[in-house]
């Protein structure tokens, strides 16, 4: 006790040239920097963040991780991602508070059950531990669940995936940033990128609010602002930046020991180790860059929560906040690089999945940048898929599901 708190990572001056510049100090940016320095031996790299590390979506999500997506491309990525958390906890020497509590996703209609059966089958095919359970089994897992038929969306069953869980997102951010700095990366907070320079379709540098940096590689991982950065080099992308709101209640006695989500009710719920119920809501319908919260969302959340989990009646919300999510039309990420513009890499449009996928995508992005060739795991997320009308099939829309996914 009484020790003066030390900085987690040193503050370096901005150098005039780096081997790679990563734009965005979120979980994807930090993970890319960490793996680039650690596994690919690129030590002369800079991470540029406009505000501070973990200020955006990385520190605003509800920190649920799971691996029961629909498509093979997402499944193998998220499965590896899920296995990475315990490894990272050791490697980074930081308690990420990974609570592998399991994840339950509820079905509220016959058609959802049909969609869930596809989900479960493809997840099992990829070796992800998950199964379809009926309403009674859901009640056994969550005794507080309301199985009445008289509610807006009665529970029909659900997907139970034991490897899912919850982390502490701030710890993940600090640990990754500290790890990247220990490996030699420079972290520059409060520096804004104002332009990306290129000549003959090759990246030559970036201009920032603190001066010019020469670099042959630029990696965009700026979440909601990625599209504007891509536009600096003339690449247009079909992404909407939408806000998602989340909130926590006052601490309650433990009643929920897994991450619960429901598509029809538009909610996902976890109870933190402290007892607070952290819950997220739906996205706003129109793009905006504010982090404004709305009373309508709070009301919706209160109504839905008390209907699904009646024991929450009378609980009070303590805080509400909003974060930006960049959403592509097929709800899947957009990852490409080093094709038309040499040295330009894009990793964005993660929407709902940004946090779960952070470290593993950072690992593959680092490989991508070091080798200049798209790793197999990321191939399906190319921006070219829209022109070919080959969506990833993450949404439960039959037209988007085909032999290619």
């Amino acid at each position: 006790m009484g020790n003066k708190l030390k900085r987690m990572w040193p503050e370096n001056g901005l150098k005039s040239s780096y081997d790679a510049v990563i734009i965005g100090g979120g979980i994807h940016g930090c993970a890319t920097a960490y793996y680039l320095a650690k596994e690919q031996g690129m030590k002369n790299i800079a991470l540029i963040e406009r505000t501070c590390v973990g200020y955006g979506g990385s520190g605003r999500n509800t920190a649920i991780v799971r691996a029961n997506q629909r498509t093979q491309a997402n499944l193998r990525l998220h499965k590896e991602g899920l296995e990475l958390w315990p490894v990272l906890t050791k490697e980074l020497d930081f308690n990420l508070m990974f609570n592998q509590s399991g994840h339950l996703s509820l079905a509220h209609s016959e058609s959802t059950i049909g969609a869930f059966r596809i989900n479960v089958s493809s997840a099992q095919l990829s070796g992800v531990d998950c199964k379809f359970i009926d309403a009674k089994e859901c009640k056994e897992l969550v005794p507080a669940l309301n199985l009445s038929r008289d509610i807006t969306h009665p529970v029909y069953g659900g997907i139970y995936s034991p490897p899912g869980g919850v982390l502490r997102h701030d710890a993940v951010m600090w640990a990754l940033a500290r790890g990247a700095a220990e490996q030699g990366a420079h972290i520059h907070q409060g520096v804004e990128v104002t332009g990306i320079e290129m000549s003959n379709n090759k990246i030559t540098g970036v201009t920032t609010s603190h001066g010019k940096i020469k670099t042959p590689n630029v990696i965009v991982a700026a979440g909601g602002y990625s599209v504007q950065l891509a536009e600096m080099v003339g690449i247009k992308l079909p992404v909407h930046p939408l806000t998602i709101q989340a909130m926590v209640t006052q601490p309650l006695k433990p009643f929920l020991n897994l991450a619960l989500s429901s598509g029809a009710y538009d909610i996902y719920i976890t109870q933190t180790l402290k007892g607070e119920v952290a819950t997220g809501a739906h996205m706003d319908e129109a793009p905006n860059f504010t982090s404004a919260v709305t009373s309508i969302c709070l009301k919706h959340q209160a109504e839905m929560l008390t209907e699904l989990l009646p024991c929450m009646k009378g609980a009070r919300f303590m805080r509400i906040w909003a974060g930006l999510a960049d959403m592509a039309p097929d709800m899947a990420p957009i990852i490409f690089g080093n094709d038309e513009i040499k040295g330009f890499y894009f990793n964005g449009a993660w929407g709902y999945y940004g946090f779960k996928s952070g470290p593993i995508v950072g690992k593959y992005m680092a490989k991508f940048i070091a080798e200049g060739k798209t790793p197999h795991h990321l191939e399906q997320f190319t921006n070219k898929r829209f022109a070919r009308f080959r969506y990833t099939g993450e949404k439960a829309v039959p037209a988007e599901i085909g032999p290619w996914n």
Binding site: E231, K236, P241, E285, P287, F289, T290, F386, A387
Partner: protein, 84 residues
Amino acid sequence: MYTITCPICGKRNQKEFRYGNEDVGPMPSYENLTPEKYLENLYSNGNHAGVQKEWWCHRQGCGTWFKVERNTLTNLQVKTGEAK
């Protein structure tokens, strides 16, 4: 929470309206139309952090489609477009 001004019904709660994407101009002509060009018109958004021109429909009101100039940093409207 913010408001959108409908040319017929006036200033109303945004929840009454449906967002109809950015105004990217008319559909390109079918001559020499490539999937890339079609796609650009269909999907490519500017995602402006600032004033953007966009379509809205007064879904829970008169049903009119109209253009609006909204500042995406403040959600305030710059001026109301004409109904079409």
